[in-house]
């Protein structure tokens, strides 16, 4: 097997990267500063808004880790330009673990079950929705996700420096079980942190729905990363139309999967028409939220669906990055719709203006920190893994 050349940023790109990283840090600090002010003034508005920003970037961190594991399992040419960006994005779970602390502090404000222990007909919920158990679970998730992110990063770097395939093989062995546990634990995380905002409502597809949304965000974020990287010498030759096409098809598939999951949950609850299930949807379709429902149908599903049907478009970075930006905006809209109306009062439905507006600095603030961390990881390693069996095989098939 031939050894692929080592590709890293040239001087000009490195400077651009430094600027970008600095700007991201500034955006992060400013965003979090705004949120700190909001926290002092109106904590009950702050917490759900912060949760929106947190869940958005959490989905990308875990989605990236999942896609790296997937590439170790199945290989394929799509991973050649994406492996290193995905590995770097998986590492953002480390700052996110610290950024979870405000949510742990706000547990009593955010979750009704933490203030009033479930009793009566809902007593069976109390062992699971116990504050210390809840926080212990969160800590457990973060330990597992961080270890996984470290494993896929450190072993992948280790592989760069050696010609035997021991680290790659190690990753190949853990990838299958790790992907299963990652998906399961992410589903548990989504249920714990978002679904229990309304503890009396349950949906078995809810965790998977958020995981699929996170994967869609990840693919969209990677399309934007590739658009940026396509201006850098060396890596730009690896971003071929075929690989962009693969990424575009994955985005299309996950757009459809998101719609499928979201609609299945609705259809089942709508058909059942049970009084303990439908309030979740009633809260999300009154007081202005009905516009979000229409926006989600048309702009989260139909628009990206038709945009991503275009074969020629999917083979160009600019077109794909525009579609990706659209999808990311709609991901924030979706998370806002899932989280902000949780406290909507059905007798006097209101639109949660404060939470929706504060959601923007939350996404920017958490995102600034994550993006800065991502860039600092990305520039430290060759942009295409060296000596990785899957990557080498893909490069040989493509003739370099």
């Amino acid at each position: 097997m031939s050894k692929p050349e080592s590709i890293s940023f040239d001087e000009a790109s490195r400077e651009k990267l430094e600027t970008l990283q600095r700007n991201a840090s500034i955006a992060g600090v400013v965003g979090l500063g705004v949120l700190l002010g909001a926290w002092v003034v109106a904590p009950s508005t702050f917490y759900p808004a912060y949760l929106i920003g947190f869940m958005f970037w959490w989905g990308i961190a875990l989605g990236s880790c999942g896609l790296v594991l997937l590439h170790h399992l199945v290989g394929g040419s799509w991973g050649v330009p994406l492996r290193r960006p995905l590995e770097a994005a998986a590492m953002t779970i480390l700052p996110l673990a610290l950024l979870y602390i405000p949510l742990a502090i706000g547990i009593q404000t955010l979750y009704p079950w933490a203030k009033h222990v479930p009793e009566g007909a809902h007593e069976h919920l109390s062992p699971w929705l116990d504050q210390s158990f809840f926080l212990g679970r969160a800590a457990g998730y973060f330990v597992f996700w961080s270890l996984l992110a470290l494993a896929v990063n450190l072993w992948s770097s280790e592989q760069d420096g050696r010609t035997d395939h021991a680290p790659s093989r190690r990753l190949g062995v853990i990838a299958g079980p790790a992907a299963v546990f990652l998906f399961t634990s992410a589903s548990f995380g989504a249920i714990d942190w978002v679904m229990t905002l309304e503890p009396h409502w349950t949906s078995t597809i809810f965790g998977a729905m958020l995981c699929i949304g996170g994967l869609l965000s990840t693919l969209a974020a990677m399309a934007i990363v590739l658009r940026q990287l396509s201006g850098c010498n060396g890596i730009s030759q690896k971003i071929t139309p075929d690989r962009l096409h693969d990424l575009g098809n994955l985005m299309l598939a996950f757009t459809m999967l998101w719609a499928y999951f979201s609609f299945s949950q609705f259809l089942i609850i709508w058909s059942g028409n049970l009084s303990e299930e439908i309030p979740w949807y009633l809260r999300r379709s009154r007081g202005g939220w009905e516009f979000f429902v229409v926006a989600l149908m048309f702009f989260h599903f139909l628009t990206p669906f038709f945009i991503l049907l275009n074969r020629e478009g999917k083979r160009r970075t600019r077109y794909l990055a525009l579609a990706a930006t659209w999808i990311l905006v709609m991901r924030v809209v979706d998370l806002t719709w899932l989280i902000a109306p949780a406290t909507n009062d059905l007798n006097s439905p209101r639109f949660a203006w404060g939470t929706v507006i504060l959601g923007i600095p939350a996404v920017v603030g958490v995102g600034g920190i994550c993006v800065a961390f991502f860039l600092s990881r990305l520039k430290r390693q060759p942009l295409v893994p060296l000596n990785d069996a899957n990557v080498v095989a893909a490069l040989e098939r493509a003739g370099g």
Binding site: F263, L267, S271
Partner: protein, 183 residues
């Protein structure tokens, strides 16, 4: 130009046989650069870049699939609306007759079904099939196009077609065999 016309009436084209895919690709690119447009290439497996080399860029299968999908989806939705809300209104648990969420699964399935069927049928028809006779099969060794032979045919309906010139041109690429294909 009587010479040209009689040729066009009796000759389908000049077929060159190659042993390697790189050779047929090279010949196709050169032929296109020379100005030949009416040509076709045959290979036992898809050769990357060959379709582009003979100037074949776009087919209408995607459009057929899109139209098929839209037809299926709309007719599926219409069928349910018409039967459940107009022709035979039926009360299901007190829900409105026009309960669109319940119509979505069938609409989706009909979209997929019609898109898939129109894809297959469109592919066959756009390829000019079924077609019991094709002059290309008159070329020497043409059966190997299904196993290990690569072929390039410059057709007589090309405005630039002149049998001797085409033969001389294709000979430059040292084909394994070269034959004049009768209609």
């Amino acid at each position: 130009m009587t010479h040209h016309e009689t040729e066009a009436e009796t000759v389908y084209g000049i077929m060159a046989e190659f042993e390697h895919e790189e050779d047929v690709l090279e010949a196709a690119e050169a032929a296109y650069a020379r100005g030949y447009r009416a040509m076709d290439a045959f290979s036992p497996h898809p050769v990357e870049g060959l379709a582009e080399a003979i100037g074949f860029h776009k087919n209408r299968v995607a459009l057929v699939v899109l139209l098929g999908g839209l037809t299926g989806g709309l007719s599926g939705f219409f069928m349910q609306w018409y039967t459940a809300a107009v022709e035979y209104p039926f009360d299901v648990g007190g829900r409105p007759y026009f309960s669109w969420p319940a119509f979505i699964p069938i609409t989706f399935e009909m979209t997929v079904l019609f898109a898939a069927i129109s894809g297959v049928v469109g592919l066959i028809l756009l390829n000019g099939l079924p077609r019991p006779y094709h002059p290309a099969f008159n070329a020497a060794n043409f059966a190997t196009a299904s196993t290990d032979g690569f072929f390039l045919c410059i057709q007589s309906d090309d405005p630039m077609f002149e049998a001797e010139a085409v033969q001389a041109f294709l000979t430059e690429f040292e084909p394994k065999s070269l034959s004049v294909v009768p209609l």
